[in-house]
C-alpha cells in the first residue's frame, strides 16, 4: 500500500483516479486532465504536492554548505524569502536532482536558515547525498514530513486564495513578489510554481490541510491531478527530473545552463570541474523544444532524426491542450537548426525545432 497524503480522503471524495507515484497514492486526474489543465491556464487550479520532500538547512555554516552542494549560488539571495532554482550535481557533473531553495531569514544574520524542496522520486538518494556532503560543515538537515503542500496556480490563483484565508494571510499574499515566500501564522506561502502561470505554493501543517483544501474548493479553485501538472510544466518548458535529465546528463545538455553560477570563480561547488571541462570542450547535445502542428502526439523515447547531424531522443512529449497540437522536449545534436524528423509509429514525421517555453501566462510564446 502506498503512502497517503493528508488530503487522500478529499481526493477520494472528489472521484480522483489515484495512481502510484514513487510510492505515493496520488491523483492522476479528477475526471478530465485536459479540463484541469485549461482551468489552470484560464482561472485557478490546485494540486496536492504534499509528496514532495521538504528539508530545512540550518546551522552556522548553512550558507557555505549550500554554496558547496548546489550549482546555483545561494549567496545571490539578498532578500528574506527569496527562492532559487538549482541543480544538485554529482562529481561527474550529472544531475542528482533539481530543487527550489528559499532563504528563510534575513541574509547574513545569525540563525540564517534555508528551506529546500526536492523531488519525491529521488528523496532517499537526495537525503543520503545531502547528509554525506554535510559532514564537513556545521549544519543541521531537518526533513519536514509533517508539512502538507498545496500548489494553487493560474491567473486567478492568488485572488481566490485571498478569499479562502485569514485577513493577515490575504494581506501578505497581496503584497508577495514573484519567486518570494513568507511565513504567515505558521504557514509558508511562496509565489512559485511549476505551471508557467502566476500562483502560490503553500506549506502548512498536515492537520490544517483538509480544511484549507475545502476552503479553496469553496472559493472556486479546481482540483487538478498529476496529469495536468505534467502537461502544464511541459508547455512551460520546465524539466521533469528522471525524464529530461538525470545523473548521466549535464545541466548544459538539459537546458539548465542558466542555473549554473560559475561566478564567482572561486566557489567550489560539487560538479564544477566537470561542468567547466564540458563547457570548454563544447557540448555535443542540447535540449530543445519540438512542435508537431499536424495530427499525432510526440511521446517520450521516440527517436529524433536530424538530417546530416545524427539522432536524438524525445525526453518528454505530450499533447498541448493550450495550443491544440503536440509538443515535446528532446535531446538532439548540438548543431540542430530549426527542423528535424521524429519516428512515430513506423513513419518519419517532420517537426519544428524551437526554444522552450511553449506557453507562458496562457499564451503561445515560441516562434
Amino acid at each position: 500500500m502506498g503512502h497517503k497524503t493528508a488530503l487522500h480522503a478529499q481526493h477520494h471524495a472528489l472521484g480522483a483516479k489515484l495512481v502510484d507515484f514513487s510510492g505515493w497514492e496520488m491523483p492522476l486526474h479528477y475526471g478530465s486532465q485536459v479540463e484541469e489543465h485549461n482551468k489552470v491556464r484560464q482561472s485557478a487550479g490546485m494540486f496536492d504536492v504534499s509528496h514532495m520532500t521538504i528539508v530545512d538547512v540550518s546551522g552556522a555554516q548553512a550558507r557555505s554548505y549550500l554554496r558547496h552542494l548546489l550549482a546555483n549560488d545561494v549567496a545571490t539571495l539578498k532578500q528574506k524569502g527569496k527562492a532559487l532554482y538549482s541543480a544538485m550535481l554529482n562529481e561527474k557533473g550529472g544531475v542528482i536532482d533539481d530543487l527550489i531553495v528559499y532563504l528563510m531569514t534575513e541574509p547574513d544574520t545569525s540563525g540564517e536558515w534555508y528551506r529546500v524542496v526536492v523531488n519525491c522520486g529521488t528523496r532517499e538518494k537526495d537525503l543520503r547525498w545531502m547528509a554525506d556532503q554535510a559532514v564537513r560543515f556545521d549544519v543541521a538537515l531537518t526533513e519536514q514530513p509533517e508539512l502538507a503542500m498545496i500548489a494553487i496556480q493560474g491567473p486567478k490563483a492568488r485572488q481566490r486564495v485571498e478569499q479562502a484565508v485569514s485577513e493577515s494571510r490575504a494581506r501578505m499574499i497581496s503584497e508577495l513578489k514573484p519567486f518570494v515566500g513568507q511565513e504567515s501564522e505558521g504557514w509558508f506561502i511562496a509565489r512559485t510554481g511549476y505551471t508557467g502561470e502566476d500562483g502560490l505554493e503553500i506549506m502548512l501543517p498536515e492537520d490544517e490541510a483538509a480544511d484549507f483544501w475545502q476552503q479553496l474548493l469553496d472559493a472556486g479553485v479546481a482540483p487538478c491531478g498529476l496529469g495536468a501538472r505534467d502537461t502544464l510544466r511541459l508547455e512551460a518548458g520546465m524539466n521533469l527530473y528522471g525524464s529530461d535529465m538525470d545523473e548521466e546528463i549535464s545541466p548544459l545538455e538539459a537546458g539548465m545552463g542558466w542555473t549554473l553560477a560559475l561566478e564567482p570563480a572561486d566557489r567550489q561547488f560539487v560538479g564544477r570541474e566537470a561542468v567547466e571541462a564540458l563547457k570548454a570542450k563544447g557540448v555535443e547535445r542540447k535540449l530543445v523544444g519540438l512542435v508537431l502542428t499536424e495530427r499525432g502526439v510526440l511521446r517520450a523515447h521516440q527517436k529524433v532524426v536530424v538530417d546530416g547531424l545524427g539522432e536524438g531522443e524525445i525526453t518528454s512529449g505530450s499533447f498541448s491542450p493550450t495550443l491544440g497540437y503536440s509538443i515535446a522536449l528532446a535531446r538532439v545534436p548540438a548543431a540542430t537548426g530549426t527542423s528535424a524528423e521524429v519516428e512515430m509509429r513506423g513513419k518519419r514525421v517532420p517537426v519544428q525545432v524551437v526554444r522552450p517555453p511553449f506557453v507562458r501566462h496562457g499564451e503561445k510564446v515560441f516562434s
Binding site: G227, G296, V297, F319
Partner: protein, 130 residues
C-alpha cells in the same frame, strides 16, 4: 465499474459493435477503453470504401497519455465514418456508445457476429485483465 450496455456486442480489444440490421454495424471503443486512455485528443479513422478484415488495425486513437490502435472487429466495407471526431475527439470520452462512435461497416460475412462477446463476457474479460 465502467458502463457495459447489454444491447451491444464486444471484442477483447475493447471495441463495441451495434447491429443496425441489413448487415450494417456501428463500431466504437468501450467506456472501459476510454477510461484507460484518458482524454482523447486525436482519432484517425479508416477511409470510407476501405475493405477491412476482422483483426486489421484500421485507425489510431491518441489520448494525452497514450496511442492505441483501433481494430476492425469484423470483416467488411467501411460505409461511414464519424467525421465529427476530427473537431471534437473528446466525444469519445463523454459519449463512447453514442456520439463517440468511430465507423460503420457493411459486413461481408454476418456469421462473424456470432463470434462476438456479449456484455457479460466482455465485463468478465475486463475483470480478468485488471
Amino acid at each position: 465499474m465502467s458502463n457495459v450496455p447489454n444491447e451491444l456486442k464486444y471484442v477483447a480489444s475493447h471495441e463495441w459493435i451495434r447491429d443496425e440490421g441489413n448487415g450494417i454495424v456501428t463500431i466504437g471503443i468501450t467506456d472501459h477503453a476510454q477510461d484507460l486512455l484518458g482524454d482523447v485528443v486525436f482519432v484517425e479513422l479508416p477511409e470510407v470504401g476501405a475493405e477491412v478484415s476482422a483483426g486489421d488495425d484500421t485507425g489510431v486513437v491518441e489520448s494525452v497519455k497514450a496511442a492505441s490502435d483501433v481494430y476492425a472487429p469484423l470483416s467488411g466495407e467501411v460505409v461511414a465514418i464519424n467525421e465529427a471526431l476530427e473537431d471534437a475527439p473528446e466525444t469519445v470520452n463523454s459519449d463512447p456508445y453514442g456520439d463517440g462512435w468511430f465507423f460503420q461497416l457493411k459486413l461481408s460475412d454476418t456469421s462473424e457476429l456470432d463470434d462476438l462477446l456479449d456484455a457479460d463476457g466482455y465485463a468478465a474479460h475486463c475483470e480478468a485483465e485488471s
